[in-house]
């Protein structure tokens, strides 16, 4: 925990340095596309979350000056599978975005959708020494949380204090200065596969970039796609990506659960490719132009020319009806949504006060998905698009960019994490030594 604390603190320091320099890149490494966004920060706006934020939560502090997307290579199920290929794809995206921005960028904040995220709810409890909650009491209670055995090769990416309770009053978001005897905290811990992070880090290093922050894709999609009410009252964000579908549940403006399903749009494409005996490229095109999940009578008469690229153009003039295509796609989409339903049920989503479900991500653009999702997931389903941010071109405002936009918002105004507070365990051992060194330096 101490080492993690140090690395995350170092990352925070790099993020602050990047914001001070004014330019930072956002990198969304997905299975279908890699998006790079370059943000220019206005240094006059207060950046530090702990020193107070502006009314718009710093969303007016930056503007997007460069955006580039490229087809993803070497990424499967939201994890880096081929470092060389991924590096090339990142290079392509970063170079194009730099060209559009007209400036070079050295710091990058990245997110990853796969790598088996697992959520843990942990709680800590501490007696207050002097009757009211001081700054360092927060650090103490966070250090007091009993961290479960997350297993070998797992790394904590998010550790957010979700709820503070003081004696018998719960639901406090900031207990500093309040009077009480016992302070307890509920913390949400999100771990992912260490190797996945390390591989991504290696790719970024090989592009001469420095990692200034790392987030789970599920979390940042939720930030950009859920509106404030949904985050406050309870809502789930489902980001249907290419290789992985991420699920995140928000309550009281904090993420309380995140998970990822290793199925996505690429699987639908491969079903079409196999079922209709066409190439993957053709299958992808058919899916995006003609795809759907709710069949109507009209669709029986809507014929689609497949024109498989077999090289025999005269003979290969196959046609299918749109109903056939829907018949291929719907079972797979249903399967994905049912898997999501299982994850939500496992997280106890139906005990939340509000149960809004927001579908976002590239996969949410399938016509008729809303209807299908409401049958499987519940009545309160809507399609979500990411928030508007300054300078974002029209082409990058679609639901496929929910994670990128969320990452940008999070970079401007990060939520408090465990490592933003001074934990007594981390600082305690070093402080006397430093003081002794100081004493020696002063006297000799």
């Amino acid at each position: 925990m101490t080492q993690l604390y140090e690395t995350q603190r170092a990352m925070r320091a790099r993020r602050r340095a990047a914001l001070q320099r004014g330019v930072v890149a956002i990198l969304d490494v997905g299975s279908a596309k890699i998006a790079c966004m370059i943000l220019a920060f206005d240094s006059s706006v207060q950046m530090n979350a702990q020193e107070g934020v502006s009314a718009m939560a710093n969303h007016n502090a930056f503007r997007v000056i460069g955006v580039a997307t490229t087809r993803s290579r070497g990424v499967r199920f939201g994890e880096v599978s081929t470092i060389e290929e991924t590096e090339r794809a990142i290079r392509t995206a970063v170079q194009a975005a730099q060209k559009m921005a007209g400036t070079r960028v050295d710091h990058v904040i990245a997110c990853l959708s796969g790598a088996e995220p697992r959520s843990y709810g942990v709680s800590g409890d501490v007696a207050l020494e002097n009757g009211s909650v001081m700054e360092y009491d927060i650090g103490r209670v966070l250090a007091e949380c009993d961290v479960p055995d997350t297993g070998f090769g797992r790394q904590v990416v998010h550790a957010m204090p979700v709820n503070f309770a003081l004696d018998h009053r719960t639901g406090l978001s900031d207990p500093r200065g309040q009077i009480g005897n016992r302070l307890s905290v509920d913390m949400h811990l999100l771990t992912i596969d260490t190797h996945a992070v390390e591989h991504l880090l290696k790719c970024i290093k090989r592009c001469d970039l420095e990692l200034a922050g790392f987030a789970s894709s599920a979390y940042v999609s939720g930030i950009s796609a859920l509106v404030e009410d949904e985050q406050e009252l309870g809502g789930a964000c489902i980001d249907l990506g290419g290789g992985a579908t991420t699920v995140s549940i928000f309550l009281k403006k904090h993420m309380i659960f995140a998970d990822s399903v290793r199925m996505g749009g690429d699987l639908v494409t491969s079903d079409i490719s196999q079922g209709l005996q066409v190439s993957a490229a053709v299958a992808e095109r058919i899916k995006t132009f003609h795809g759907g999940v709710m069949a109507t009578g009209m669709d029986d008469r809507d014929m689609i020319e497949i024109g498989g690229e077999t090289g025999d153009f005269d003979r290969d003039r196959r046609k299918i009806s749109r109903s056939d295509l829907i018949g291929v796609m719907r079972p797979r989409v249903e399967e994905i949504l049912e898997e999501v339903r299982a994850r939500l049920d496992g997280a106890g989503f139906n005990h939340l006060p509000g149960q809004r479900i927001v579908l976002t991500g590239g996969g949410s653009q399938i016509p008729g998905l809303e209807g299908l999702a409401s049958r499987i997931l519940g009545q309160q389903v809507r399609l979500g698009r990411p928030l508007r941010i300054q300078g974002l071109p029209q082409a990058a405002t679609g639901p496929a960019f929910a994670a990128s936009v969320g990452l940008a918002l999070n970079a401007a105004h990060p939520q408090d994490e465990c490592w933003d507070f001074n934990l007594p365990v981390a600082g305690g051992a070093r402080q006397p030594l430093r003081r002794a060194m100081q004493w020696f330096r002063d006297n000799w």
């Binding site: 279908a32 596309k33 490229t70 087809r71 290579r73 090339r88 794809a89 290079r91 392509t92 970063v94 170079q95 730099q98 060209k99 007209g102 400036t103 070079r104 592009c207 001469d208 290419g242 494409t269 190439s279 993957a280 490229a281 992808e284 095109r285 995006t288």
Partner: protein, 291 residues
């Protein structure tokens, strides 16, 4: 989104290309490459061109040519040197001191050096050098000799301030000047002049003023008479001698030395004949007393 096709063209930038692009987007490097490199190139070419010996020689020659072309313009020509003030002999001496060939370019003339050269001539007290059109005008103030100093092998003319006004081999033509002698007697020239002025009736008898030990004067008269003057206030002492002479005709008697170095009284030295005469007269006087 199309899937990867085998054999499709590689579109991602190579690592070198990517790095180059990033360097290009760095403002410092960008300005260096856009201005620094061309400037350095031009500077290197210039240095390479001008470091060749023949180029330098050619450059120096063309500069010298241009300079001499301007200098040799008739507008800058100086035709003659006109010397005003001073005697003809002095003018000749000055012409010899500054060997200039005319016509001369006025740009090549250094008037300050010329002035210094002319003033180095003994007989010139002050010289003013000016260009008036094509004439180099030299105004001279001559040094007037008032004393003549005799050294071991030559005679020097000395002006009222003690400065040298010329060197002569023989005294012919300068018999009207009082003679002074002794090491660095010139330095005390003003004092010598005031002594001569104070001599009054003795003036016609003065042969020379001799400087003794660089501190006091001996006044040498005819008949080998010497007046030894003190270091302090020699003029007052001389006035006393003159008063004595006019009252008692001291110097008309058989006296060889009047010594005034002791301030309280003058000491006289008689000639040998006078002393013997004095002894004889005293002996006669003693016999008369006894008898």
């Amino acid at each position: 989104m199309s899937a990867v096709e085998p054999g499709s063209r590689e579109y991602s930038p190579s690592r070198m290309q990517y790095r180059w692009e990033r360097i290009w987007l760095t403002p410092l490097y960008r300005s260096l490459i856009r201005t620094g490199v061309p400037v350095a190139l031009v500077a290197m070419m210039a240095v390479g061109h001008f470091s060749k010996a023949e180029t330098q020689a050619q450059l120096a020659m063309s500069v010298a040519n241009a300079r001499s072309m301007v200098e040799n313009r008739p507008e800058f020509a100086v035709e003659l040197m006109q010397i005003k003030g001073g005697s003809e002999a002095l003018a000749q001496e000055v012409r010899e001191a500054v060997p200039l060939t005319f016509p001369q370019s006025s740009l090549r003339l250094d008037l300050a050096a010329l002035k210094a050269d002319i003033e180095r001539v003994d007989a010139v007290a002050r010289a003013d050098v000016a260009l008036r059109g094509s004439v180099l005008e030299v105004r001279i103030q001559e040094r007037l000799p008032v004393l003549i100093w005799r050294g071991a092998d030559h005679l020097e003319l000395v002006d009222a301030t003690g400065a040298r006004a010329g060197v002569v081999a023989v005294r012919d033509g300068f018999h009207h000047l009082p003679l002074i002698m002794g090491t660095s007697a010139q330095a005390a020239a003003p004092e010598a002049l005031s002594l001569i002025a104070a001599a009054g009736p003795l003036r016609g008898r003065i042969r020379a003023l001799r400087r003794m030990g660089q501190r006091r004067w001996d006044l040498v008269l005819d008949r080998e008479q010497v007046i030894k003057l003190p270091v302090e206030a020699p003029v007052t002492a001389l006035e006393r001698v003159v008063a004595l002479h006019s009252a008692r005709d001291v110097l008309g008697r058989d006296v060889t030395v009047v010594d005034l170095r002791d301030g309280r009284r003058p000491v006289l030295r008689l000639s040998r004949a006078a002393v013997e005469e004095l002894h004889r007269l005293r002996a006669i006087a003693d016999e008369e007393e006894e008898g």
